[in-house]
Symmetry: C2
Subunit: 248 residues, 2 copies
């Protein structure tokens, strides 16, 4: 399993992804799922992947090495896309291509070849955008009404996002809330695990302000986990005792 | 969908269940899912149900009217069970019987006949126990290591239970945390909805201390929802800003 979330606020874009993959509970590994395609000053694109690893690695390879257009036979690389919309369409095509390569025996094998991806960033003077791309290669776009998208094991970490993030949130607050959302998921689902990759891109900056990895020894993340647990305990203790008595 | 949780602490047992059922998003109804079998001073049993409504209603009917033992041909009613273990076994048999009645055409229809139930209570001088019963009629029992069980849409409401409930929690705190867990689920999953039924049984009391229904106009629950949202916002604001900068 996997948990990745992307948060798009007025100030910019945050993407966070865990690194745990598993083929059964007895086969757990660490793989990077957050990939950056960056030319500082010109373009920054971030791709987070969930689902079948052979398909998602195939997508990243196709986007890096180039994907031949079926009509024009031109080879298109993600880093050369002229807009985020064209880039998202290219990611969608790469998903379909990778699936057709890796997934030839999908029905027979009984293995799921489903994938989902978050793709966000900014190219030149174009808009900062965030997309979620499905197995079929189609996609939806994040809008200010719900300023985040999630892939993978999304349920445990959704309540805090629903309550605490808005389009007007400060971007470092959005990062913090994203880390709390990741912590909730890690606590409740063994198949989501540390280390965490994160990236932060301010609107218009055209270079990542933060691109780092957090492991179990990271003092801030340790403190966030403990503070959050303490705060949750304090929060529920501050709510009055239920007044219900007797049978009604 | 459904969300029910049972919390078994040193002081007693709390059970909470929503009332929303749906056959598709366009066919939503209210049905009681928390059923009490009580003879004050002698026994209290609580049954919460999730899954296929025709099967779970069949279970309640069989437990109320009686289930013929296949070997002895005696008719067994839940209210007459001599211990919680025997009662749980009877619930398991009622699940299998109801499934065989309702689920004859299960494979053909493509409808899921899966169910899951929480069953808890105390009979006479026996122990206060809480069980989760599966579609196959088998069951597990709640123990102090993890003093709660959930059925239905369990993920959204699990982080708060994981962090805030222990076997030593005060029982009214456990009720409050259960209501917070229910609130988180209602906010994130449309198929779980008000009103909520709840019941509270103190260990050894042999009569429900609370058995009531909470609807959207309930002032305490309204206040709990708002206080909790406020507290979550305050909690994440109290955590320092992430210190990460640059690329690593």
């Amino acid at each position: 399993m996997t948990y990745c979330c992307g948060i798009l606020v007025r100030d910019g874009l945050v993407m966070i992804a865990d690194t745990r993959t598993n083929a059964g509970l007895d086969n757990i590994s660490t793989f990077r799922k957050l990939h950056l395609f960056e030319e500082p000053g010109e373009r920054v694109m971030m791709l987070a992947t969930a689902g079948n690893l052979s398909v998602t690695q195939g997508v990243v390879n196709l986007l890096t090495e180039g994907l031949e257009d079926e009509e024009t036979h031109e080879v298109e690389r993600l880093i050369e896309a002229s807009s985020m919309l064209q880039a998202a369409q290219l990611v969608g095509r790469a998903v379909r291509r990778s699936l057709s390569i890796a997934g030839g025996g999908a029905e027979q094998s009984g293995v799921s070849f489903e994938v989902s991806l978050l793709f966000g960033g900014q190219i030149g003077t174009g808009a900062l955008r965030l997309f979620m791309i499905y197995t079929a290669g189609n996609f939806i776009e994040c809008t200010p009404d719900t300023p985040y998208l999630q892939i993978g094991e999304h349920k445990y970490g959704k309540p805090i996002l629903d309550r605490a993030v808005s389009f007007d949130s400060d971007i470092l607050d959005a990062l913090k809330i994203g880390l709390i959302s990741m912590d909730s998921t890690i606590r409740s689902n063994l198949s989501v695990g540390l280390p965490i990759d994160l990236a932060l891109l301010r609107r218009g900056a055209l270079r990542t302000e933060i691109a780092t990895r957090i492991d179990g020894a990271d003092p801030y993340f340790q403190d966030l986990r403990e503070s959050w647990s303490r705060a949750l305990r304090a929060a529920h203790m501050a709510i009055p005792t239920p007044p219900y008595r007797g049978r009604e």
